[in-house]
């Protein structure tokens, strides 16, 4: 529908600008806050323009950490978050693409049952099964390890389900043509299924990376060693100090940095995304 009414155009822009401001303003405030020293906040006023303390703030949290709230340097926490997010992302994609392939293309006993069992796990996110999962992880001796951080989060059905739905749209004839061309199941998987799933994998990468990066409750539960702290839980620890005022400039600075990788992933993968969408078969 193409309409050209000045008032509607104005209204549309107004709504969009308000929306952007609504989302962007808190980010801006956080950024501004990270550039002032702590005293500014304790004075009770909230500046709207960046101060002069930016370099100092970021240097401190990145290299020294905030010792009086027990947080290690941010570089380390961010590395931990990155490792955890990447293991979750790649683990989930690898497992789900293979299991979806099995469910769609192979006829084995209890195939439908297998699918439904996987499907039912959709109803059981970590938060629901947190006690038994913690017990399992603890018994396996995985507390304070990257495996413990990521493996319990890898087990979920969303991606499997997504790949299954996509594989079902691959025409049967393509499978048959490949069979006639002498492609066995594994060859078909490598030569047809994976290249065709490229866009889906890219989309899932974005979603899962952010999902993994933003994990808060689970890392909080199973890490007691500073070496395995992730950045999201680190922010919480920073703002949660006993006996003194939280150092808001450090908290906000950490928040800014914690936001960065997901934003980069979205920006970078978006191009792959759009390319995939445009190249999609009619």
């Amino acid at each position: 529908m193409v309409e050209n009414r000045p008032f509607l155009t104005f209204l549309a822009h107004l709504v969009l600008i308000l929306g952007v401001a609504f989302v962007a303003l808190p980010v801006w405030i956080a950024f501004v806050a990270s550039t002032h020293d702590q005293a500014t906040f304790l004075g009770g006023s909230m500046p709207l323009w960046p101060g002069s303390n930016m370099w100092e703030t970021y240097r401190t949290i990145l290299t020294d950490g905030v010792p009086n709230s027990g947080t290690p340097p941010l570089t380390m926490m961010m590395t931990n978050s990155l490792i955890m997010a990447l293991i979750i992302t790649f683990g989930k994609i690898a497992i789900s693409v293979i299991s979806a392939f099995a469910i769609v293309y192979f006829r084995f006993p209890f195939r439908v049952l297998a699918f439904w069992i996987i499907f039912v796990t959709l109803m059981l996110p970590v938060e629901v099964r947190i006690m038994p999962t913690f017990k399992v992880v603890a018994d396996l001796g995985l507390l304070n390890s990257y495996a413990g951080l990521s493996i319990p989060l890898i087990a979920s059905a969303t991606a499997t389900f997504l790949f299954r739905q996509f594989f079902l749209t691959i025409p049967e004839e393509l499978v048959e043509a490949a069979r006639i061309d002498g492609a066995g199941p594994m060859k078909f998987f490598r030569d047809m299924v994976l290249p065709l799933s490229q866009t889906n994998i890219a989309a899932l990468f974005v979603i899962l990376f952010i999902y993994g990066w933003n994990q808060y409750l689970w890392p909080m539960l199973i890490t007691t060693d500073e070496k395995f702290y992730t950045v999201v839980m680190g922010i919480k620890r920073m703002s949660d100090v006993a006996d003194s005022d939280p150092q808001w400039n450090f908290v906000m600075g950490s928040a800014m940095l914690a936001m960065l990788p997901p934003v980069l992933v979205v920006i970078f993968m978006q191009r792959l995304f759009v390319k995939g969408l445009v190249e999609q078969e009619k």
Binding site: P171, E176, R179, I180, D181, G182, K187, D191, M192
Partner: protein, 346 residues
């Protein structure tokens, strides 16, 4: 190259009580172009897919060349298939599409290149070897799909309604090309279609299937001139043959109490009589034929009308004058007689 032999081939799909193919015997000679034709659900595609190895065989035996292929994988049967929706690999260029099957057979790079050049020359697809399928038109995709079969140089080509996704003009053109190609390559071909015109024009031998069984096998013209049953009679030819419940008495064909044609050798009794529209001779003088409407085809006319209560379609040239009341003459030699109950030719 090789012949294909089907003996008592049956297919019952799991969970279905009635078999889709109920025992088909067919001997396809080396180099022959055989067309399987029939209405949808007659089992023609199932039969083709069993030859290809994409469906299991419930009973019977299929031999390609001199090997029983019943339990062989499609890739081991040395056949190539052209699919209705082309089934090109969308993420591969035309060249990769053509070479994929050869690579999987561990063919030497130089031999693959040589074959692709050769195939590209035959099909005139050389200009877009590096393009992806989505950048090709329907006709070009169809060529590439055929190229993927030719490049393999298989014992037999299997075509599964390859032209039904094309528009009418292109379909006609590609039909000619397939015929031409077969004359050149002489590879055994099995072609499935529901389009009787396509079937007639392409086939060396035509197999008409109905309800999982072969109705008739033969050269297209033989089937057209001597259909073995009312089914074949009604299926081949456009417009279709006129079929009427009638009676033969004293050497005359009686329809609704009036004699339509005389001097017949046929046995007296109830019959189903058939006559091709082009065999009916219409004259302008008032008589037994009531004209309903006319379809102009340009070179000829199709005249729809009634003789008594019986609908009748006639094809005439443009010189024939038309009027509401006409006389239809049914030459005795052009009449086909079928058993009134079984529909078999008498």
């Amino acid at each position: 190259m090789a012949g294909i032999k089907l003996s008592a081939v049956k297919k019952t799909y799991p969970g279905s009580s009635e078999p889709a193919v109920k025992g088909v015997d067919l001997d396809i000679q080396d180099g022959e172009f055989v067309v399987l034709v029939g209405p949808s659900g007659c089992g023609k595609s199932t039969l083709l897919r069993m030859i290809a190895g994409l469906e299991t065989i419930s009973a019977g035996e299929i031999v390609i060349g001199d090997k029983v292929v019943n339990t062989m994988e499609p890739a081991e049967r040395d056949i190539a298939m052209v699919f209705q929706n082309y089934a090109l690999y969308p993420h591969m260029s035309v060249r990769q599409n053509l070479s994929y099957g050869l690579k999987n057979r561990k063919m030497a790079r130089s031999e693959i290149d040589r074959r692709i050049e050769e195939t590209a020359a035959i099909l005139q697809i050389g200009d877009y070897l590096e393009r992806k399928p989505r950048a090709l038109s329907g006709g070009q995709r169809q060529r590439v799909a055929m190229g993927r079969a030719i490049v393999r140089d298989p014992a037999a080509f299997l075509f599964d309604e390859p032209l039904s996704n094309l528009d009418a003009k292109l379909r006609l053109h590609m039909r000619g090309e397939i015929k031409h190609l077969h004359n050149r390559l002489r590879t055994t071909s099995v072609y499935v279609t529901h389009d009787q015109l396509e079937a007639m024009t392409l086939a060396d031998r035509l197999v008409v299937l109905n309800n999982g069984l072969i109705e008739q096998v033969g050269r297209p013209l033989d089937l057209y001139q001597k259909p073995a049953s009312t089914f074949v009679a009604g299926f081949l030819g456009a417009p279709a043959m006129n079929l009427m419940e009638a009676e033969v008495a004293e050497g005359a064909l009686m329809l609704g109490g009036a004699a339509l044609a005389g001097g017949l050798q046929a046995r007296p009794g109830r019959v189903t009589a058939g006559i091709r529209p082009e065999a009916i001779r219409l004259r302008a003088e008032p008589g037994n034929f009531r004209l309903d409407y006319v379809e102009e085809l340009g070179g000829t006319r199709i005249v729809h009308g009634h003789i008594g209560a019986q609908r009748m379609i006639a094809q005439t040239d443009l010189a024939t004058e038309l009027s509401d009341e006409m006389t239809a003459e049914l030459p005795g030699a052009e009449l086909h007689f079928f058993h009134a109950e079984t529909g078999q030719r008498l």
